[in-house]
Point group: C2
Chain length 248, copies 2
């Protein structure tokens, strides 16, 4: 093929080359999880390219969840994704700890409010019901990765707003109300962070996210609450191991 | 609150107002699935706003999967998402038909190739093995929504490249090789379309996607193949209904 010197053609190739080089360094842990990349200026010198092409490459790696950016701090290697298995009956804190990581929870707000039409539908409540809304930001190894809104049917949880809501709600339900989760329905769609979710995760509105909706029944089959979760796209891997039918 | 006339403050509010208005029209089916939106020029007149603000609003709705853009054709209301349930033992064609939609399959390439290290690992093959790679684009109601690479252990599927590979591989495995799926392991991460996946889906490289990896065993517990699926982010909703432990 004849050599062509057009920048238009070279730029994507250079970006692909930078992506491969950085991916290899990350895969071999020469750039360890959580580690900071050199400054963009240094990287463009290293790869002998423009800032524009370099940023294109960094943007691609960010979209794949390999690196992430922190405002005014630069680029970092993304920590390993948490494995989220809907079939395992666990909760955020236990799941994170079991994977050798440190969970954290911040309560953003907790109050009784009029339920939106969508929440009424999910909780099978009549129109104009009120619900308990608890908004929390949850972190793994001090990095905020999950924004969640819990909506509780107030009939089942009198006085719950008086407890310390940083703790696991699953634990609180069991110890204080004798309620444990029964059937759970999950829905998952790729989405983006809306403004309220983006702020506590310290990223820009519109950042890619995995939006997980959970509708939870208790041991008696009553719908007790639902959760609207927004995960940073690079923090989660959903895994489902479906056994052979014959084994079940 | 005092009125402020700064465009910097007004633009996000206007964009939010446009999003709400269009979402409402879509929710009530005044703009039906698959329907085309009026031209951007008309929409900016209607909402008395600039093209920039209008595009910001349309971009937000696109990220949420409510509308999508076709090159040189304009904006369309996204069709309903297909419900993808990893616990249901089905395949693409059956799943799409069961939901009242029309599946389509295009074979992009089919050949025996040296397996990459990643594929060797997934199929538990020794280094420098060869595999059968089948690349397909799959559509729902004539809209290409899924790019998939199948990798088959050639030991179990002699001569498979001679068949019409537009048909369901699940069906072909059963009818020609006496092989049915046993245990299946799913992994799902939000990602973006790489160049090879974006082209057959007729969208730009870097478009948001849900990347689903399946590693499939047969009824004897042997790993027979794996699938790397890239779904348009707006075409799929993963749902998992986990029954109460006591009911299982």
């Amino acid at each position: 093929m004849p050599t062509r010197d057009s920048t238009q053609i070279e730029a994507p190739r250079t970006a692909a080359r930078i992506c491969r080089a950085l991916t290899e360094q990350i895969d071999r842990s020469l750039l360890p999880p959580g580690g900071r990349l050199p400054a963009e200026r240094k990287l463009s010198e290293l790869f002998a390219t423009t800032r524009i092409t370099l940023r294109e490459a960094l943007g691609q790696l960010e979209a794949q969840g390999l690196i992430y950016r922190e405002k005014q701090r630069g680029w970092f290697v993304a920590p390993p994704r948490i494995q989220y298995d809907p079939l395992k009956r666990t909760h955020f804190e236990a799941m994170v700890r079991e994977q050798g990581r440190a969970p954290g929870t911040e309560v953003l707000s907790a109050q009784q409010i009029p339920a939106s039409a969508a929440i009424c539908e999910m909780l099978a409540l009549p129109a104009l019901s009120s619900v308990i809304q608890i908004r929390r930001a949850r972190s793994i190894d001090s990095r905020a990765v999950l924004y969640v809104e819990h909506y509780l049917n107030p009939a089942y949880f009198p006085g719950i707003l008086d407890f310390d809501l940083r703790q696991s709600l699953t634990g609180l339900y069991a110890s204080e109300y004798g309620i444990r989760y029964g059937r759970v329905q999950f829905g998952m769609v790729p989405s983006v962070l809306h403004r309220q979710a983006a702020a506590p995760l310290k990223v820009a509105e519109g950042t890619p996210a995995l939006h997980i909706t959970r509708v939870n029944c208790d041991q008696h089959g009553r719908i007790i609450d639902c959760d609207l979760e927004f995960w940073r796209h690079d923090a989660i891997r959903v895994c489902v191991d479906v056994p052979d039918r014959a084994e079940v």
